[in-house]
Structure formats: structure tokens, C-alpha cells
């Protein structure tokens, strides 16, 4: 069972398909759950404390906004642990009320420069594309299982 980083890290489709085909998806929920279930000082809504941007310094320089560094304290350790990654490139919702475009760029850069196998996709817009989309993920994960 390989640890597979998924982007967007909140994707239902990727999280389900990776788990369905027998691997372990690394998604944002796991990192958030870890913080939500750890006692400490109340820091709503996500229990992101002033410590997180300090941890993010490992991935981004000090002049980078604290929002990017705070997010990287969630995503950075997952990218380090990942043995493979699946990236959906046309996920517009990853930038908005909870997302950050610069963090997304940094995540993709770190994934690509880490040397792990990466599957680049777009969302399937038709049933035909859906068949190819699922088959591509299945083949990618099957290969991981054989090599791992």
C-alpha cells in the first residue's frame, strides 16, 4: 500500500479512487483531524496556531506570507511522506474562500521536484473522458503496487 498525495488535497474523487484501488490517500482532512484532536489553546476554526507558520519556514522563506507558510505546515509533511502523487490541474475551486493560489503553485512545484511518480490529469467532462480518467488512475496505482 503506497501513500499517494492528492491535489486538490480535499478532492472527493481522488480520495475515493486511491482508497478504492488499495492505497492510502494523503488528504488535507487527515492533517486537520490531527490538529482538531490535539488538546492545547483554542484557535478556531482550524486549530492553526502561530506555531504553524514557523513550521512552514521549512518550505517557504520568511518573507512569504504567513498564510502560505501556515498552509505548507499542513501540506509539506504530506509531500515528504508521499510515494506518489496525482494532480488534477483544472481544479478552480482550490483557489477561493479556503484556498491560496501561491500555496497551490508551491505544492505542485514541491511535488514535481521531489522525484516521485506523478500522474497529471484534468477533470473528466464527459462519460468517455470518465472511462479514460478512471483507467489511468487504476493503471498508475497498479504499477505502484507492483513496484512497491
Amino acid at each position: 500500500m503506497a501513500k499517494v498525495f492528492i491535489y486538490p488535497a480535499t478532492s472527493l474523487i481522488l480520495s475515493d479512487l486511491v482508497a478504492r484501488f488499495g492505497h492510502s490517500p494523503l488528504s488535507a482532512a487527515i492533517q486537520i483531524r490531527e490538529r482538531i484532536q490535539t488538546p492545547g489553546l483554542d484557535s478556531p476554526p482550524l486549530q492553526i496556531t502561530p506555531e504553524e507558520p514557523k513550521k512552514g519556514l521549512k518550505y517557504a522563506a520568511v518573507e512569504v506570507p504567513s498564510g502560505v507558510r501556515g498552509r505548507m505546515s499542513l501540506y509539506g509533511p504530506m509531500i515528504e511522506k508521499a510515494e506518489a502523487a496525482i494532480i488534477i490541474n483544472d481544479a478552480d475551486y482550490a483557489f477561493g474562500c479556503m484556498g491560496c493560489a501561491r500555496t497551490n503553485e508551491l505544492i505542485k512545484f514541491l511535488v514535481r521536484s521531489s522525484g516521485i511518480p506523478v500522474l497529471d490529469l484534468n477533470y473528466p467532462k464527459s462519460e468517455g473522458e470518465g472511462e479514460e480518467f478512471v483507467a489511468a488512475i487504476h493503471a498508475f496505482l497498479k504499477e505502484l503496487g507492483e513496484s512497491g
Binding site: G40, S43, L46, P124, V134
Partner: protein, 152 residues
């Protein structure tokens, strides 16, 4: 800052989405209650949230998936159900993660079709998935619409 005491420590929460022509979230909930084994189940408009020990939650989800494998989708959730920091009953409006789910659910029938056809697919056939390289940067019809909107 005040002291924070977490609830439901040591549990996991998972979303179960159902997008099926043969099954409603209500049907899924009834079946889930039958096999719940002490896990906490919350019904939602799209399916369920299941909270409990990881092995119990996975066992229930495994049985639920068998009902309609290509149309039931599962993902982890960081917060337990009804958490006042996330629950829309306290905040008003949709919670932030809802928009992502709404978008993906609109495409999920294509994924269901892919799952259904996977078993009958020739294993030697190389997949040609939608990827950033496969599409045109800007569709002509989209460009035309942009020009027309600017002229108006």
C-alpha cells in the same frame, strides 16, 4: 486564548456520498443504521457522515459500498459532525468545503461510468485521460463569448 479540549479523540469521521439512480441518501442511511455497530451516523442531503473507531467505520463503509459500488464515494473529514466551528447551523450558509463537493458531484457520474466500464476494459489498452496537454488552451467558442461580452 482559552484552553481547547477536543471532542471524540481517537475517532475518525468519513463522508459517504451517494449519487445513484437506484439509491437515495435515505436508503443508504437506513442500511447504515442496521449495521452501525455503535458508530455515530449523521444523515445529510448527499449521504452520511460516519464517526467512530477507524476499524468500525471502515467495516461499515465496506458493507455500504457493496450496495452500489460505482455510485458510492467516500472521503475523510477532519471535523466531527456538528462541530460548531464548521456546522452551518452555527455559521449560516454553506461551509467552505461544500463548494468543492458541489463541483465534484456534478462530474461524478462520469467517474461512475468509468468504474462500471473498468472491469470490461481491455487491460492492454493504454488510457488516454484528459490532461493539461490534451486540451486547447482557449476554446474558440469561449473566446468568442469573451469578445461578445466585452463589446456589450
Amino acid at each position: 486564548m482559552t484552553e481547547y479540549k477536543p471532542l471524540y479523540v481517537g475517532t475518525v469521521t468519513k463522508y459517504v456520498f451517494v449519487e445513484s439512480p437506484d439509491m437515495t441518501p435515505g436508503d443508504l442511511a437506513i442500511r447504515a443504521y442496521e449495521i452501525s455497530r455503535g458508530v455515530m451516523i449523521k444523515e445529510t442531503c448527499f449521504g452520511l457522515q460516519i464517526t467512530g473507531k477507524e476499524e468500525d467505520v471502515n467495516a461499515v463503509i465496506g458493507m455500504l459500498r457493496e450496495l452500489d459500488p460505482a455510485h458510492i464515494f467516500v472521503k475523510d473529514r477532519g471535523f466531527p459532525p456538528g462541530d460548531p466551528r464548521r456546522c452551518r447551523a452555527n455559521l449560516g450558509g454553506a461551509r467552505p468545503g461544500y463548494y468543492g463537493h458541489e463541483f465534484e458531484i456534478s462530474l461524478i457520474r462520469n467517474v461512475s461510468k468509468g468504474l462500471e466500464s473498468l472491469a470490461s476494459r481491455d487491460p492492454e489498452r493504454v488510457p488516454n485521460p484528459p490532461s493539461p496537454e490534451s486540451g486547447m488552451a482557449l476554446d474558440i467558442s469561449k473566446l468568442k463569448k469573451i469578445i461578445e461580452s466585452m463589446e456589450g
